[in-house]
């Protein structure tokens, strides 16, 4: 009895960690000791580009590793977005819209009105950027609603060990986009405000340094304090942007996986309850994935709007 419980516990944790492991390709450093499945040990003589077998190897690959599944799904979903919208864009006309054009125009209108509300500068990049982010992130989040075992099991049958199909549960993906937004923020801050005004904004807020009188000796101190606070605030923006999306999606995915462990015992009352819970959580999650995509878009627009404010 005790052994049975033990195996089951082991199975569950392995099941969960398997679901949370990306398909990684990268360079294992020389001298790394590989453990194959049959307990065989192999010490690498040279650094080797290979597929990672498990989390340890993926970690050992360091920065050279690539999450092939995340990137492939993210790229594929991005292509779906582009093809779908480009198809409509090619045939777009001012006549009576029908079918897909209606759908696409609703989204475009929604994004456009949001951008117009929040972004007051003049930049033709912002609205299409917001559209791309909204639809792309939504599609990536949408993968969360695919049953957790469906694609990984198919891939295992095809000989691929790991498969994480929700790109937005990978911090690399969300932080990658957030860093893209961050670069745009810095670029437009320098371009619109000018380097001097940008640095002034970072160093003279929130405590305005005194410019005359005996208090002027305090000015460098205040500037240092301001710089510290403002730079931390500035850097926090892309990180909070990326980690918010990652955290929400990761937690959501985790709950799907945890509910899925209820199916382990075969057909029983737990199986039925697990099914109901999956459905319930999926329905609730429709709200979450849309909201998170929307929040990512809104914050991007707000941050860029702040970069365009010229004092």
């Amino acid at each position: 009895m005790a052994t049975e419980t033990e195996t089951e516990t082991f199975d569950t944790s392995a099941y969960i960690s398997h679901h949370l492991q990306n398909l990684v390709y990268g360079k294992l450093p020389a001298g790394y000791e590989r453990h194959s499945y049959d307990g065989h040990h192999e010490v690498l003589e040279h650094a080797e580009w290979t597929w990672a077998h498990g989390a340890d190897e993926a970690a050992a690959m360091g920065f050279s590793a690539v999450h092939v599944d995340s990137l492939a799904w993210s790229f594929g979903l991005g292509v779906i977005f582009c093809l779908l919208f480009a198809k409509v864009a090619r045939k777009a006309n001012s006549g009576v819209p029908a079918g897909l054009q209606n759908f696409v125009e609703i989204i475009v209108e929604f994004v456009d009105s949001n951008v117009k509300d929040m972004f007051h500068g003049k930049n033709p990049l912002v609205a299409p950027l917001a559209l791309t982010i909204f639809v792309w992130v939504f599609l990536m989040n949408l993968m969360d609603l695919v049953p957790v075992d469906l694609i990984p099991e198919i891939m295992i049958a095809l000989g691929v060990d790991y498969q994480k199909i929700v790109p937005s549960t990978d911090p690399n993906i969300t932080l990658g986009m957030a860093l893209g937004v961050f670069i745009l923020m810095i670029y437009y801050s320098l371009k619109v405000k000018g380097p001097v005004a940008f640095i002034k904004e970072l160093s003279c807020q929130p405590f305005a340094p005194p410019t005359k009188g005996p208090a002027i000796i305090l000015a460098p101190l205040l500037i240092c304090v301001n710089l510290f606070m403002e730079i931390v605030g500035l850097l926090a923006k892309p990180f909070s942007l990326g980690l918010r999306l990652f955290g929400n999606m990761y937690a959501g995915e985790m709950i799907f996986i945890l509910i899925a462990t209820m199916f382990v015992g075969g057909i029983s009352i737990w199986f039925l309850m697990g099914g109901l819970l999956q459905i319930g959580w999926a329905i609730f999650h429709i709200l979450v994935i849309t909201l998170q995509a929307f929040i990512f878009m809104v914050l991007t627009v707000v941050y860029l709007s702040m970069s365009h404010e010229d004092h």
Partner: protein, 156 residues
């Protein structure tokens, strides 16, 4: 969970998709939508204009009708007046004609009377001469007694 090259890959994809969207997706769709909005606005404005012009046309038609009615009644009035006038004129003419005919007839009669009288006078003077001759038994010199004869005939 590790931060690695995936991040850079995602940034590259991000740039690619945003650039694609900026170039090939956003402008055609928003342009089509803008064009449609303009079309609809134009259509609505045209409908407004048409409604206004219809109103104006109706107003004008009403005015025209009123004017036509006024004109018609004016024409009828003037025709009536003219008719009356014509009748009056005809009456007057007829009266005048009648008067003229009567005057002419009277003149004729007068003339006839005068003529008859003249003849009668001549005859009277002759008769009276003849009578007188018979009575006096001698001829009367017409020239000698002309004055008397004239006086006589004037008395007739």
């Amino acid at each position: 969970m590790n931060i690695n090259f995936t991040l850079v890959g995602q940034m590259i994809f991000f740039v690619l998709f945003v650039m694609f969207c900026v170039k090939y997706v956003w402008p055609p769709i928003t342009n089509a939508m803008k064009e449609r909005a303009e079309k609809i606005a134009d259509g609505l404005a045209a409908a407004d204009r048409a409604e206004k012009s219809l109103e104006l046309a109706q107003e004008k038609a009403g005015e025209d009708l009123k004017e036509a009615k006024a004109q018609a009644s004016e024409i009828i009035d003037s025709a009536k007046k003219r008719g009356d006038q014509m009748v009056e004129e005809a009456k007057q003419k007829a009266q005048e004609e009648a008067e003229r005919i009567r005057t002419a007839a009277e003149a004729e009669v007068e003339q006839q009377i005068a003529k008859a009288r003249e003849e009668l006078r001549a005859q009277v003077s002759e008769l009276s001469i003849a009578g007188a001759e018979k009575i006096l038994g001698e001829s009367i010199d017409a020239a000698k007694h002309g004055d008397m004869l004239k006086k006589l005939s004037a008395e007739l």
